[in-house]
Amino acid sequence: MVVESPAREATPPVEHPKSLLLRMDRMPHIWCSRCGIGIAVGCFAAAMDKIGLSPDDIIVTSGIGCTGRVAGYVKVDSFHTTHGRAIPFAVGMSLARPDLKHVVFSGDGDLISIGGNHFIHGARRNQNLLVICVNNFIYAMTGGQLAPTTPLTARATTAPYGSFERPFNLPALAMSAGASYVARWTSLHIRRLTDSLTEALNRDGFRFVEILAPCSTIYARRNKLGTGLDLMKYYYENSVIDHEAGLEDLDIGFQSKIVVGKFRDEERPSFTMSMQDHLGKILGKKYTPAVTGKDNNPQTGGKA
């Protein structure tokens, strides 16, 4: 059946191509017009599609906040947990089900402020998690409070005269804590972001992808930066791809240059591998490899 190219737009004959990976019964989602989180989710869905993995093999955990709502919109086993505790929750689950792919999808405040301790220890131990941090420089869901990533001089409701605190440099933090894959992209870099996520999904260890996303209603508006569209244009004008950048160059100032890229991609034994290798070596025959939820053993909590 050949469809002729129509003069105007076509009436959609089918649902959106990514609809199988999204909870379409909950669309439209709650994110504002011109918010970048939807783009991050779309790229993630595209990456899931690309690696050809069944959505049954991926688990998404998120925390609290605007990005924390992602778990509610992806059609996989998904967990919307407490503020800052998505990473340790996912650590527990990844140790119980090492056969599945575990993704933590949360925001900058959730992962780095209240969740900061869990972030650095998860990275230190090279836990087998893909951590996607959508960074909109603000605590958006609760009205626009200061975040540990808010650039100097930017305004927030708890920094009404502008922030005078030095913000975190997330890729530097992740790298120094020991993450094995570290990348930063903006919502505008849709293809490189999708490629990064595809790559990261196929790796082991602690993988960290920071996605700079426009927050139109709060960050842009309160800082007189226009709308999310203006922020996307700012990303266009000011982002530079430099995979070899030094850690200091990755700082982000208010409306400053943004360096994006893939800054680290190393193969390192994950926590589980290190545990199995070491205990196997020390205990020899006495070592019993860990039971998992997949073993279908009801005595230890599994389904028969």
């Binding site: 800052g84 505790r85 689950m93 070592y287 860990a290 998992t292």
Partner: protein, 385 residues
């Protein structure tokens, strides 16, 4: 079903309460433990770290207690029986995620080896002052189950019972030990695996297209689904409907939260574990739990020796509280005597349920040691007048 023999250290042992609790976890089928060291619970974690690699379990010392309880919830969802141990300060840190465990209906066990409080308090000395916190520590309305062992043998037995209760009722269950029991070394008999009954959560038999995560059964407990098997469910700490999706309305709150409370209340009769001694003709009942119940024994015996009709009610399950039983007894007895190593916690429950029909006498102790049985005896004598 029977316990997995791999985790059962059958035999007669000389263990302290902490080690017995660790063995109880191994026997119950617990294969995931995440904890953070805190006196006087650390020995549980240490023994688990030693034993788990040999029985197929995973031990991880997390960066703090908040991470520990979060990891326990995650591993429980991943299909493993999971546990953590802590003491007062760590217990306080865990409260938010305990609420998450209640809301998401996650089977897990939290052992609190109580010590003197508040704050850093007396890390190496006993207390029983976290009992109310076990019930009310997290924010919002909810119900949980809590057990209180009074010997290392019971530490072993009650950890298994705690796992069974948590799996049956899909709720976090607390084992409220104290430093005295935790560090007391006594004979612990571990039976063969065939004699240990264990329970596992009820998995759904519905296919993914028909399954909804929070449709309660007749017992008010929803069937759980395994992750990674195509169910693709969502669950959240937000007030949610039977699909697991957040619905933020008062109507949904009524359906969602009220059921969490009724799930325990309506099934309390199947949960209670109480030890009644000489209750039937008693004029005075000593209501106690944990180490205080053992300290009360010489006091009760001395009073009985003098002809006083003293009975004992030992709360093995501290929560849910046996309200009906106390109300009934209050009509029969003259007084309740409640010795506890705090300045008054369970005594308020006893007094509330007694409804003024019987006198309620607290025998307090600030913590740091156990009661002098003399004080309990004096209290019995006082109410006998």
């Amino acid at each position: 079903m029977h316990a997995d023999p791999k985790g059962v250290l059958t035999g007669t042992h000389y263990f302290d309460g902490d080690h017995a609790a660790a063995e109880g976890a191994c026997a119950a089928g617990c294969r995931f433990f995440a904890g953070y060291p805190i006196t006087p619970s650390t020995e549980v974690a240490e023994r688990v770290a030693l034993r788990f690699p040999m029985i197929g379990g995973q031990f991880i010392q997390m960066e703090d207690e908040l991470a520990s309880i979060a990891a326990v919830l995650g591993a429980a969802w991943g299909g493993l029986k999971s546990m953590t141990v802590t003491s007062g300060p760590g217990f306080s840190l865990m409260m938010e995620n305990i609420g998450l465990g209640v809301m998401m209906e996650v089977p897990c066990v939290v052992v609190d080896v109580q010590r003197g409080g508040p704050s850093t308090g007396l890390p190496t000395l006993p207390g029983q002052a976290d009992i109310m916190q076990a019930r009310w520590g997290s924010h919002g309305d909810y119900e949980i189950i809590a057990l209180s062992p009074n010997s290392p043998q019971e530490c072993f037995d009650l950890v298994i019972e705690a796992f069974n209760l948590s799996e049956r009722w899909r709720v976090p269950v607390f084992v409220m030990m104290d430093e005295c029991i935790g560090h007391m070394t006594e004979k612990v008999v571990i039976p063969p695996a065939e004699e240990i009954d264990i329970v596992t959560r009820r998995y759904t038999d519905k296919p993914p297209e028909e399954y909804l995560p929070y449709v309660p059964g007749e017992d008010l407990v929803p069937d759980i689904a395994p992750v990674g098997e195509g169910y693709r469910f969502h669950t959240t700490g937000l007030t949610h409907d039977e699909r697991g999706y957040p619905v933020m309305t008062a109507d949904c709150q009524e359906v969602c939260v009220h059921r969490l409370i009724e799930k325990i209340n309506q099934n309390a009769d199947k949960i209670f574990h109480l030890e009644k001694t000489n209750i039937d003709d008693a004029d005075i009942v000593v209501v106690s739990y944990g180490i205080s119940s053992r300290v009360a024994i010489p006091a009760v015996e001395r009073a009985r020796g003098e002809g006083l009709k003293v009975g004992e009610l030992r709360l093995v399950t501290v929560w849910p509280f046996p309200e009906e039983l106390i109300r009934e007894l209050a009509g029969q007895v003259k007084a309740f005597v409640v010795p506890e190593i705090n300045y008054g916690q369970m005594v308020h429950e006893v007094e509330r349920c007694a409804g003024g029909k019987a006198v309620t006498k607290l025998v307090p102790h600030g913590g740091g040691w156990v009661h002098d049985p003399e004080k309990i005896y004096q209290a019995i004598k006082e109410v006998a007048k």
